[in-house]
């Protein structure tokens, strides 16, 4: 444990504001959003939930998913989420708020799909708890105050024709609203042909090496 971490712990014990550490993020989202511990991040699609979770999960963080019975776990494993450190609470009724509060105490990242509208007062109370517990909350749906919101603007599946082929890759545009005014867009493979999600880069066209001039050898 280094000195900075110790200072942070002291600050947390004394209730002073701490400069929050960032959470590892998937390369496809790097630069688009920088999740910090204690933050609330909104998304609007299952594949974005998985992409956002895969960063911290691959780094060894415990994750929990509340109230999403339809989440594709096979896709989660493909996205790089460590299933042995994943807790699912698929069926939550009225008790979802208590469940989220209990998991926020124990896990590093909690995903929730709120079944009901959340009052700003309740959200603020949970945010305070997130800060003190160093937990990230990912909200799949509406939330009063998000530190950033990711949404899928368009997606274009490739690999399927008319009666032939199969789904292979998807080229999607993700929009991130990190501030009131700042909106960033990025085109990503979600996933690419090799099942890895990454930003779409226009590969520089490699020039063929110039051939050596033909010489007479005789």
């Amino acid at each position: 444990m280094d000195l900075d971490e110790l200072r942070q712990r002291m600050a947390r014990l004394e209730g002073r504001p701490v400069d929050t550490a960032t959470v590892p993020v998937h390369p496809a989202l790097a630069g688009l959003v920088t999740p910090r511990v204690g933050g609330v991040y909104g998304v609007d699609a299952a594949s974005l939930v998985l992409t956002l979770l895969s960063g911290p999960s691959a780094a060894g963080a415990w994750c929990g998913v509340v109230g999403c019975p339809d989440l594709g776990v096979a896709a989660a494993a493909e996205a790089g989420i460590d299933l042995s450190r994943l807790v699912l609470v698929p069926q939550v009724d009225e008790a979802w708020w208590e469940v989220v509060a209990a998991l926020v105490d124990a896990l590093a990242v909690v995903v929730v799909r709120p079944p009901a509208r959340v009052a700003p007062k309740d959200a603020a109370r949970l945010t305070a708890r997130l800060r003190s517990r160093q937990t990230v909350l990912v909200v799949w749906g509406e939330w009063p105050r998000c530190d950033a919101r990711l949404s899928l603007v368009s997606s274009d599946w490739a690999g399927v024709g008319h009666g032939h082929g199969r789904l292979r890759s998807r080229r999607a545009v993700i929009e991130a609203c990190t501030d009131v005014t700042v909106t960033r867009r990025r085109e990503v493979w979600l996933p690419g042909d090799d099942l890895v999600s990454r930003p779409v880069q226009e590969r520089p066209v490699q020039e063929r090496p110039a051939r050596a001039p033909v010489r007479s050898v005789s």
């Binding site: 415990w62 699912l88 609470v89 469940v99 199969r166």
Partner: protein, 566 residues
């Protein structure tokens, strides 16, 4: 070979109490007896392609131990061949051991079918009487062929038992082991290498082997040969080691008067559970699976085995007890809602007893807490336990990837805190599996999607996998809007588990890409139900509907932070 001297009880010298004699009980052909085939059926148990044991009926036909399968079947074509199942044999022989142990303490199992014990000198009236009482008890268990031998040592007693008649005893007089063994062939020591060598040296009986000088035997045959030499001379170096009765580790409490509420039961069981954990720790064990039995009105009302991925502490066990009681209360509640209880009656009988029996234990050293790296996991367990306390044990789930064809089948979920046993390993090949990428949304209950062709007729797949029309439009639910099909692939017919009526399913999968609206989904149309569909039935279709979204109508945003409307 002179007949071994049968012991006359009248000449039995007064036992001096210094050296107890050894009795060996032998149930011949135990592997066949354990397989519980009828006596008249010729049967043989095979191990490694050779006959390990055969029934008397098979022996009459000429089947012998050590014979190859083909030879045995040639001798007796109607021979019933059985697999060698050592664990089953050992388990069934445990009943015999327990029956013998009831009568006389200190039974040493040698192998399934064979056990040794010290003969009580006078309790049953003598050695012959003891053997008769034990044989009677074993025959009561249904093992009619049991033979006994009594001698000074285990080896001589075993040889005597092998030469006794059915339900009879052969008694070698005290000090007579050497002379009894002298006439036996050397093969009885059951060491093929040594007996072959002894035969070639011209030593055909144990007596001839025993007459060698011990020092010569050690130099020529080594320590192992020396041990066998001592056996041949009737000096048994191996004392009868008694079976250690397994310690009773379960705890139980009975409540008088019966307790009504779960909390009261859990509170009353606290000390008992702590006692159980301490008792296990005293044996150097921790419980990994514990069976909890709850008695209501003197009968077991609910019994369940709880497993833990690591091990149970007292708090964990109390949680399990609470969940079990809560589940029971919920069942009763449901039963009373259904009207099986009249309102005046007590809702349910009081709980008058709880027992906790550790079913699986492992050494505490295997689960020692390491110095670093255990903290967060314990914290996670506590947090999830709180969720389970709120919603019930099954609410929080752990997931494991397993083998399967559809995306939903590739996941195995189990309640958090239970060991996850995967039935279908994921690393095996799964031909027909939906290829990656897997859908991010897998509907727990499939939505009924409808796919139609150009004229609006539903697209069907016939028994040969041919489609009735090309899909042009689809909608993901009865209320959803129709949208055009941008691209499609399939059908991939799947005909699974046709040998199992309950699990059989015949479906045809499609991947359909729409052009607007709803997010990617996995939906199914007309899944199978009822009797297994015949091969000639058309395939119900399962659509993998994936939607490319070009234009999205933005949902209304919370204006508090001034989301910029687009």
């Amino acid at each position: 070979m002179s007949a071994p001297t049968l012991f006359d009880p009248a000449q039995e010298p007064e036992p001096d109490g210094v050296r107890l004699r050894t009795m060996v009980l032998w149930c011949p052909d135990w592997p066949v007896v354990a397989a519980q085939v009828p006596v008249t059926t010729p049967a043989a148990v095979l191990a490694g392609g050779e006959v390990l044991a055969c029934s008397p009926a098979a022996r009459v036909e000429g089947v012998r131990r050590g014979m190859r399968r083909r030879d045995a079947q040639a001798r007796c074509p109607e021979l019933e061949l059985l697999d060698h199942r050592p664990d089953v044999e050992a388990r069934l022989f445990d009943d015999v051991l327990a029956a013998v142990e009831d009568l006389t303490p200190g039974v040493a199992p040698i192998r399934p079918g064979l056990c040794a014990l010290r003969v009580p000198p006078r309790y049953f009236g003598g050695e012959r009487e003891t053997a008769a009482v034990l044989a009677e008890r074993v025959v009561e268990l249904g093992v009619w062929d049991v033979r006994a031998g009594v001698a000074d040592g285990v080896f001589a007693a075993e040889q005597a038992a092998r030469r006794a008649l059915t339900q009879d005893v052969l008694i070698v007089p005290p000090g007579g082991s050497a002379s009894f063994l002298a006439d036996l062939p050397v093969e009885v020591v059951d060491d093929a290498a040594l007996t072959g060598l002894l035969r070639r040296l011209g030593l055909r009986t144990l007596g001839a082997f025993a007459s060698l000088a011990p020092a010569d035997v050690v130099t020529r045959f080594g320590d192992h040969g020396s041990v066998l030499h001592r056996l041949a001379r009737g000096e048994d170096p191996q004392p009868v080691s008694r079976r250690q009765a397994p310690p009773e580790l379960g705890v139980g409490r009975s409540f008088e008067p019966p307790l009504e509420t779960a909390e009261a039961v859990v509170f009353s069981m606290r000390t008992a559970v702590e006692e159980l954990v301490a008792q296990l720790a005293g044996h150097g064990l921790v419980g990994t699976a514990v069976r909890i039995e709850v008695d209501v009105d003197g009968a077991v009302a609910s019994a369940r085995t709880w497993r833990h991925p690591s091990w149970f502490d007292a708090a964990g066990l109390l949680d399990r007890l609470r969940w079990q009681l809560a589940g029971r209360t919920a069942d009763l509640q449901k039963a009373s809602d259904d009207g099986s209880h009249d309102g005046t009656d007590r809702p349910h009988g009081g709980i008058d007893g709880v027992r906790l029996v550790p079913e699986e234990t492992s050494a505490v050293g295997e689960h020692a807490v390491s110095l670093f790296g255990q903290g967060p996991d314990a914290q996670v367990d506590r947090g999830v336990a709180r969720v389970q306390g709120l919603l019930g044990h099954e609410a929080a789930q752990a997931v494991v990837e397993q083998g399967g064809r559809g995306p939903g089948q590739r996941v195995h979920t189990a309640p958090w805190g239970e060991r996850v046993d995967v039935a279908r390993p994921a690393e095996r090949p799964w031909p027909g599996q939906v290829p990656a990428p897997a859908p991010a949304t897998v509907f727990a209950s499939p939505a009924a999607a409808v796919v139609v062709g150009a004229e609006g007729q539903p697209v069907r797949v016939d028994a040969r996998g041919a489609m009735s029309a090309e899909p042009m439009q689809f909608r993901s639910g009865p209320e959803a809007d129709w949208q055009p099909v941008a691209a499609w692939a399939g059908p991939w017919p799947v005909d699974e588990h046709w040998w199992d009526e309950a699990a059989a399913r015949r479906i045809a999968r499609f991947q359909v890409v729409g052009s607007t609206a709803a997010p990617g989904c996995w939906s199914s149309r007309a899944t199978t139900g009822g009797p297994r569909p015949a091969m000639t039935d058309p395939f119900p279709a399962e659509c993998h509907v994936l939607v490319a979204r070009s234009q999205i109508s933005r949902p209304e945003r919370d204006t508090q932070r001034g989301w910029r409307p687009r």
